[in-house]
């Protein structure tokens, strides 16, 4: 890790909402240029953490800083450095797309920002809708507009709070291409998502939150190595399996057999026993451990 000022630094952050301890001593450093994932079940504290970073929620104790600027004491600099795509699909129905982006630029004291606004609209396919009232946009277009609003002041740190919830495949793909290109240009990305395959594909590092605490934080590669549960799916020419394997093999609804194993030697033994029993394997698929397995495992253990 570089010794540069972290893009996001969170120290011993605590926040309680009535009887719920939303954050219970969260500490985290995210370095400039990282694509960082924040995962956790509903109510884990992800949105509370993001809200504190954005200044929408005030922490009970602890510190949070964006690019070295404290989000409370130095809120102007902190907010200038941060672009947030909120989870809810919100829009202001009084304005069209271009007006929305011009006004949002103005809030950051940016005048004559039309060049950058045109560029963002182009990248997010919003140009044909520039003069359309925001309430007449489709859900996907509204989501794009939220992304554009978050980027209008070219923030070095971008936070995306479940940006692809309820979004179609095309938009999801184009959105990730755009966000990835921003990351390649040096922007720090903090992403929360329920789509674990997205986090696995995009994030270099991931933190997992549960009940307001960080229960895992590592590179995606290291996290994937936390579990060695592979899965094999076999289609056999017989309805029965050797007695020794009956407890471990599970029958899927489509007639295939499924077995979890941690070492390939176990799979070799299974295939040998099947051969010995005169059973032929018609089809076999291997599934590597993924983030979902790791996530489920960590959530169970903690």
């Amino acid at each position: 890790m570089s010794q540069a000022t972290p893009a996001i630094r969170v120290g011993e952050l605590r926040k309680r909402f009535r009887s719920t301890q939303a954050l219970d001593g969260v500490s985290l450093d995210i370095q400039p240029g990282e694509f960082f994932g924040l995962l956790g079940p509903n109510g884990a504290g992800k949105t509370t953490l993001i809200s504190i970073l954005a200044g929408l929620t005030r922490a009970d104790s602890g510190q949070a800083a964006i690019m070295g600027h404290d989000v409370v004491r130095d809120y102007r600099q902190a907010r200038r450095a941060l672009g947030v795509v909120p989870q809810e699909l919100v829009y202001d129905p009084f304005f069209n797309v271009r007006e929305t982006l011009r006004i949002q630029s103005g809030y950051f004291g940016l005048r004559d920002n039309d060049g950058w606004i045109d560029e963002i609209m182009h990248h997010l396919d919003l140009t044909p809708h520039a003069d359309k009232n925001t309430q007449n946009l489709s859900g996907g277009m509204k989501r794009r507009l939220l992304v554009a609003q978050a980027l209008v002041h070219k923030p070095p740190v971008i936070v995306l709070d479940e940006p692809t919830a309820g979004v179609d495949v095309d938009l999801r793909r184009s959105l990730w291409e755009f966000i990835s290109s921003l990351n390649r240009e040096g922007h720090t990305i903090l992403l929360t998502t329920h789509y674990l395959e997205e986090a696995e594909a995009l994030c270099g590092r991931i933190a997992m939150l549960k009940s307001g605490r960080i229960v895992a934080c590592d590179t995606t590669r290291n996290l994937l190595q936390l579990t060695n549960e592979h899965c094999a799916q076999l289609r056999l020419d017989k309805e029965t399996v050797p007695t020794a394997w009956q407890a471990r093999l599970q029958r899927d609804t489509d007639g295939c057999w499924r077995v979890n194993f941690s070492e390939y030697a176990e799979l070799e033994a299974l295939l040998a026993d099947l051969r010995g029993a005169g059973t032929r394997v018609l089809e076999m698929h291997l599934q590597e451990p993924d983030l979902e397995d790791v996530f489920t495992d960590i959530m169970k253990r903690t």
Binding site: S51, R76, A78, P86, G106, Y107, G109, R111, H153
Partner: protein, 259 residues
């Protein structure tokens, strides 16, 4: 409203511009409708009472009524502008667009207040313009008129900010409007002089700050009033300072905006 690029030089001006554009886009509802409502009041009350009531010597009832109606429209529209904008933004969730940027609580206050003042003045001018068909053009004290119009807009704009922040639902805001703002404006001498009231209600009127706004504004038009305009200015000024201080304290604390 022109190209905004040159106007949006700071967060404050951007938010002010946004608030102006917001009400201007629905000007039929926010400007034309209140003017028509005031005109209807004028037609009905002046038609019924013109021949029967003369409040001040040498001043027709219509001439007496016009300043009250203009001020009532100013008050109600300044309040509506800030309160409805805030409650709509909160209900629709788009208040985050204003909370995420580096705007200070003072900029937030000034922008909403400025837009409320502009809408109050535009509606007030509109009402006054249409009443010119029914009452002669006469302003006894233009500076008093300006001072009272601005103070009225500012007070009600700030009250609107407080109401918009406090209310969590439209019906809470409606309750604020129906049980506080409307009685204060109607029971303030818009349609009558408080000298025509029994002593008890006269005393009640004198603790209603809106009474001083209407009375002082009327003094600016007809040169006569129920109380000294300087006293009214003092009361209105004190009200503005108090409500502004409350609004700023609420905004600074993030009350119902930043949790």
């Amino acid at each position: 409203m022109g190209r905004p690029g040159a106007f949006l030089v700071s967060g404050l001006s951007a938010l002010f511009y946004k608030e102006l554009l917001r009400f201007w886009k629905v000007a039929v509802q926010t400007v034309v409708a209140p003017v028509v409502t005031a005109l209807l009041y004028l037609l009905i009350f002046s038609h019924v009472l013109e021949a029967h009531v003369q409040v001040y010597p040498g001043v027709s009832y219509t001439s007496f009524l016009v300043p009250g109606l203009v001020m009532m429209s100013i008050l109600q529209n300044a309040f509506s502008n800030s309160s409805s904008s805030l409650i709509q933004s909160k209900m629709q969730g788009n208040i985050v667009f204003v909370l995420l940027p580096p705007l200070s609580y003072l900029e937030f206050f000034l922008a909403y207040l400025g837009a409320a003042i502009v809408r109050g003045l535009i509606v007030g001018l509109g009402v006054w313009a249409v009443t010119l068909w029914y009452a002669p053009f006469h302003i006894a004290h233009p500076l008093w008129l300006l001072a009272y119009a601005l103070l009225a807009c500012a007070i009600m704009g700030a009250v609107g900010i407080v109401a918009g922040i406090w209310a969590e639902k439209y019906d809470q805001l409606a309750a604020f409007q129906n049980f506080l703002i409307l009685p204060l404006t109607f029971l303030s001498g818009v349609f009558y002089s408080i000298h025509s009231l029994p002593p008890f209600w006269q005393a009640v009127s004198r603790v209603n700050p809106v009474f001083y706004l209407i009375d002082g504004f009327r003094y600016a038009f007809v040169g006569q009033s129920d109380t000294d305009p300087w006293l009214g200015l003092l009361v209105a000024g004190a009200c503005f300072v108090a409500i502004s201080a409350l609004t700023l304290v609420l905004l600074r604390s993030g009350y119902k905006l930043r949790h």
